[in-house]
C-alpha cells in the first residue's frame, strides 16, 4: 500500500515538473523536442535513483546539522562518477545524453528528494521513490517536448535515431511538409507558455476526478475550521 502511494505521488500527485515545479531550469531548457526530453528525463531518473539509494544507505551516519553539505557532496560525486562511467562504457549514449548530465546538478529535485525522502526512509523505498519521481519528471519533459515540437516544427520523435539507432528513424512523424513552423514554441518563452497550459490541464483533470468522487470523501479532505 505504501509503495503504491510512492508510485502515485512520484508519477502524478506530486509530479516534480507539474506540481512541485522543481528543476525548472533543465525542464524548460531542453524540452524543445520529445527525444531531448526523453534523454534528459532518463538521465535524471538514473541520477535520482542512485542519489536516493546512496543517501538512504548512509542516513544513520549523517549528523543532522551538516546534512545539506553532505547531500551536496554525495550528489556531486555521484553525478560526476556517472558522467565518467557513461563516457567510458556507453559513449554512443553519452553523445546523446552527455550534454544533459552537468545540467542535472542544477536540478534541485535531486537534493529535494534526498532531504525530504531518502534521509528518512529505508533504501528500497528510497530507490523506488527516486525512480518514480524521475519517471514523473520524464513524463513532464516528454509531454512538454512533444507539445513544443509539434507546434514548433510540426514533427514528433524527430531524430529518434540518436537514441534508438536505425530503428528510431521509423518512429519519426511529420505532419505536413508545408508547415512553416511556429518559432515561439521552440524559443524559451514558448516553454513557459506550454508548461502553463500543461499545468492547467493537469489541474483540470484532478479537479474533475475530485468532483466525480462521493461526497463523504470530499468532506474528509477539507480542513476542519479551527476552534
Amino acid at each position: 500500500m505504501r509503495y503504491q502511494q510512492i508510485i502515485y505521488d512520484g508519477l502524478w500527485r506530486n509530479n516534480t515538473g507539474f506540481v512541485q515545479l522543481l528543476g525548472l531550469c533543465p525542464l524548460l531548457a531542453v524540452s524543445s523536442s520529445v527525444i531531448n526530453g526523453l534523454g534528459m528525463g532518463l538521465a535524471t531518473t538514473l541520477v535520482l535513483a542512485s542519489c536516493n539509494l546512496a543517501v538512504s544507505s548512509v542516513r544513520h551516519w549523517i549528523p543532522n546539522e551538516v546534512r545539506i553539505p553532505i547531500f551536496v557532496l554525495l550528489i556531486a560525486a555521484i553525478v560526476t562518477a556517472i558522467e565518467l562511467l557513461m563516457k567510458a562504457f556507453y559513449y554512443d549514449l553519452y553523445m546523446v545524453l552527455g550534454i544533459f548530465i552537468p545540467l542535472i546538478v542544477t536540478n534541485c529535485a535531486v537534493i529535494g528528494r534526498a532531504e525530504a525522502f531518502a534521509s528518512k526512509n529505508v533504501p528500497l523505498a528510497s530507490l523506488l521513490d527516486g525512480i518514480m519521481v524521475g519517471l514523473g519528471f520524464t513524463l513532464a519533459l516528454v509531454l512538454l517536448g512533444g507539445m513544443r515540437e509539434l507546434l514548433g516544427h510540426g514533427t514528433l520523435f524527430a531524430q529518434a535515431e540518436l537514441m534508438f539507432g536505425q530503428l528510431g528513424k521509423s518512429f519519426s512523424l511529420s505532419f505536413g511538409d508545408n508547415y512553416k513552423g511556429f518559432l515561439l514554441a521552440i524559443l524559451p518563452p514558448g516553454a513557459f507558455f506550454c508548461l502553463g497550459l500543461l499545468i492547467a490541464g493537469k489541474n483540470w483533470l484532478d479537479a474533475r476526478a475530485t468532483v466525480s468522487q462521493p461526497l463523504y470523501f470530499k468532506e474528509a479532505v477539507t480542513t476542519p475550521p479551527s476552534s
Binding site: S32, W61, I62, E65, L84, F89
Partner: protein
C-alpha cells in the same frame, strides 16, 4: 560550551569523512575510465575527419598528426586552433582546419574545414553552434544539404565577389528568415581558405619530435 564540543567534533569528522568518500569515488572513476574515454573521443574525431576525407586517401595517423596555429584575423579566434594533416607516403594530401565564425546570430559557430593540398575544399562541417533552432541550424549536415555546397569550391571558384550569400550578390543560398548564420559561415570558410593559401608550407611542416 562544554556541550557544544562533542557535537562540533562529530559533525566536523563526519563532514571530512564524506568529503573523503566523495573524493575517492571521483578519483577512482576518473582513473579507471580515463584511457577508455581518450580512446572513445579519438574514435569519434576520426569518424568526423573520415567523413571529410576518405580513409583511403591517406595513410598517416591522422588524429595524432596535428599542429596548433593561431591567427585571429583568419581563423576567428586568438586561441591556437588545431589543424590535422593527412599525408600519403609522406606527401601532403589535405589539411583539416578548425575554424570559428565569430559573427553568427548567437555566439561562435565552430567549423572544421577540410582543404585538399591544391586548395580546393574537400568539405565543411559545423561542429557546434547556438543558432536559432529551426532557422539557423540548417547549417548542420544532418538538417540540410546546404553545407555540402562548399565541396569542390576554392578561392577562385567562385571569384572573391561570389563568396557571399545570394542576397549579398554571391553564389551561396541563404535560408528563409535566417541570413546572418549562412553569411557568417561563408565568410569564415573563405577566410580559412585565405589562411591556407598563405600558410600552406607552415601547415604541412613535418613534426621534428613529439
Amino acid at each position: 560550551m562544554q556541550a557544544l564540543k562533542p557535537t562540533l567534533w562529530r559533525t566536523t569528522s563526519r563532514l571530512t569523512l564524506f568529503a573523503f568518500v566523495g573524493a575517492i569515488l571521483i578519483v577512482g572513476s576518473y582513473h579507471s575510465t580515463r584511457q577508455q574515454i581518450v580512446h572513445n573521443e579519438k574514435m569519434t574525431l576520426l569518424q568526423t575527419l573520415n567523413g571529410l576525407i576518405p580513409p583511403s586517401s591517406y595513410d598517416n595517423d591522422l588524429v595524432n598528426d596535428s599542429i596548433e596555429m593561431e591567427n585571429r584575423a583568419f581563423l576567428g579566434s586568438a586561441k591556437p586552433m588545431t589543424i590535422y594533416r593527412a599525408r600519403k607516403q609522406k606527401q601532403a594530401v589535405a589539411a583539416i582546419i578548425n575554424s570559428i565564425a565569430p559573427d553568427g546570430y548567437s555566439g561562435n559557430i565552430y567549423l572544421v574545414v577540410a582543404v585538399n593540398y591544391d586548395g580546393t575544399l574537400a568539405g565543411v562541417r559545423v561542429l557546434s553552434h547556438q543558432e536559432t533552432p529551426g532557422l539557423g541550424d540548417y547549417v548542420e549536415e544532418r538538417r540540410s544539404k546546404w553545407i555540402l555546397g562548399f565541396n569542390q569550391r576554392a578561392l577562385n571558384n567562385p571569384e572573391e565577389a561570389g563568396w557571399k550569400v545570394k542576397r549579398d550578390g554571391g553564389v551561396f543560398d541563404q535560408f528563409t528568415g535566417a541570413t546572418i548564420t549562412p553569411r557568417a559561415v561563408v565568410k569564415a570558410v573563405y577566410k580559412t581558405l585565405l589562411f591556407y593559401q598563405q600558410y600552406r608550407d607552415a601547415i604541412f611542416v613535418e613534426q621534428v619530435s613529439h
